[in-house]
């Protein structure tokens, strides 16, 4: 049992409607303090809409939403001071220098320091933490995409947030920038003070970084659990292959260990070439994304017909 004091995000039956189309159909989930959650889903699944509602940047059509014990639609400045936000695309403050911007934005948080939480984060320390020390006095517009993104994360955590939202933090990264970013996020998560919710459409990223994964598809949460739980929950059965009397067999089963045990008990040493293929989350997720995109393709084709 978790007490309600541990629950940092509590979403129940969240709905969002733009005009005649529903973007979110009753999204429900919780996040506890210190968790790292991935909101995983294909493009157009409603990830950004969900996270913007939680950030208090967007209203909602229906449902109950609590973030740090407040309704984000009515969050005050004190509530805002406990949140960190990294959006999909920032191009702001191009003429500012890296350290200058962090020190400036940090100054707004000084009033919200508590006995337990020192606010803001020291600008030099933060610059070092995100690996931008060499660039601390450079203008932000001269940074590369990966450097800019690390600065965005630094801005997101400058107030030492209790809860950090990140929307597609690694979109457009090269592999090195992606790995650097992952290391940064894992270090942050290791400190255990900050609850992190990030969106991604990359399953590997979600598996690597998140303690728990929520899969959002077409406005619904279709799976919620650790990577292992999801593999069982949505990928379904493992595949067992073997030969017996020179003949090949393939069997799909929910409990491969049990099945293999029974197989040996029944046939003993007559079993050869045993292979167990674990259920792959990736296969299922990719199939799901394909379905979602095929759906979009159909919609686009419909649009074209309407135009023609």
């Amino acid at each position: 049992m978790t007490t309600s004091a541990d629950v940092v995000i509590d979403v129940d039956g969240l709905r969002m409607r733009y005009g005649a189309s529903d973007v979110l159909h009753g999204v429900t989930f919780q996040a506890r303090q210190g968790e790292v959650l991935a909101l995983l889903g294909p493009n157009g699944a409603g990830k950004t809409t969900t996270i913007e509602i939680l950030e208090g940047f967007r209203g909602r059509s229906a449902g109950r939403v609590k973030v740090l014990d407040a309704d984000p639609a009515h969050g005050d400045e004190h509530w805002r001071a406990r949140l960190g936000i990294v959006l999909q695309s920032w191009r702001d403050h191009p003429k500012w220098r890296v350290r200058e911007l962090l020190a400036h934005l940090g100054s707004y948080y000084a009033d919200y320091a508590t006995e337990h939480v020192q606010r803001p984060w020291d600008a030099d320390e933060l610059v070092a933490m995100v690996g931008l020390t060499e660039h601390a006095d450079k203008q932000i517009r001269t940074l590369s995409g990966g450097q800019r993104r690390r600065l965005d994360v630094a801005v997101g955590i400058v107030g030492r947030p209790e809860l950090l939202f990140m929307d597609e933090p690694t979109a457009g990264f090269d592999p090195q920038a992606r790995r650097d970013f992952h290391d940064l996020l894992l270090r942050l998560a290791d400190q255990g003070e900050t609850t992190i919710l990030f969106t991604t459409h990359d399953l590997h990223e979600a598996e690597k970084l998140a303690g728990r994964i929520l899969i959002l598809n077409a406005g619904r949460i279709i799976a919620n659990g650790t990577a292992e739980e999801l593999a069982r929950q949505i990928a379904g059965n493992d595949e067992v292959r073997w030969t017996h009397d020179g003949q090949r067999f393939t069997q799909s089963t929910a409990d491969a260990t049990r099945f293999v045990f029974d197989l040996f008990r029944r046939y003993g040493e007559a079993i050869a070439d045993l292979e167990v293929r674990r259920a792959s989350l990736e296969d299922t997720y990719l199939a799901l994304v394909r379905d979602a995109e095929a759906g979009q393709g159909r919609a686009a084709a419909g649009d074209l017909q309407a135009v023609a």
Binding site: T48, E52, E77, L87, S89, W90, W96, H104, S107, Y109
Partner: protein
Amino acid sequence: MPRAATALRAGFARGLIELRQSFTGSELVGQLLWPVATLLAIFFLRNRGFGASGFTLGVLALPSVLGMFIAFGTLLMVQYLSAEREDGTLLRARATPNGIRGYFIGKLVTASGSILVYLAILLVPGLLLVDGLQVGRVGSWLTLAWVLLLGLVATQSLGAILGSLVSSPRGAGYLSLPIMGLVAISGIFYPITALPEWLRWIAQTFPMYWLGLGMRSALLPDDAVAVELGASWRHLETAGVLGAWALLGLIVAPMVLRRMARREAGSSVAARRDKLLQRIG
């Protein structure tokens, strides 16, 4: 309230940082272009007489263009707001506690500081170029100070209101046309007494005309008043119109700005960027 004090302090710091940015490096050329070009025009007008008034055009024009540069605060605010909505600066302010308040204080400081620099660039060499301005009187500077103060508040809050209504730098470009139109009929380049009566009334509704008049009343000798409407400096009316705009701005601007900031979200910034890329592509 300590938190309001923090926003005020952060806003001032922000304004000064951005003021420094806008007057360093390649920005400097763009900043100096208009005041220097205006100064050149005054230089060439310094010996040309104006009708039977006994004054040279240079003397009459210098205080008027000071008024015009104060009125540019409207355009500056519109440009800042439209550009910084598009690049996400405003949204960043929204994600920061008390950030929106700090942001607008910063903008007022940057715009006011820029205008003070323009005025200094015009006034200091201008006093050497043209003879006959009254700058030895304490009253001149007092008048200049109150017209300037009311003018900064009135024009920038008007700019903030207009800036929150346009959604892109393109819109800001369109908006600058009517504002330049108001400058054109405000008696700064062309005596208002020579305009048809209906245009005169339009001009007198907006702050630009009164800023020019106020600056002329501060810096010109008393007998120059003969050129003005009703042969009067009309200080009471100047304070009334500028004060009314300032008051209106102070009440309305925070309301529309809050409304604008509330509508900002990450996806709206991203959508505008995509639109921009499509236009370029």
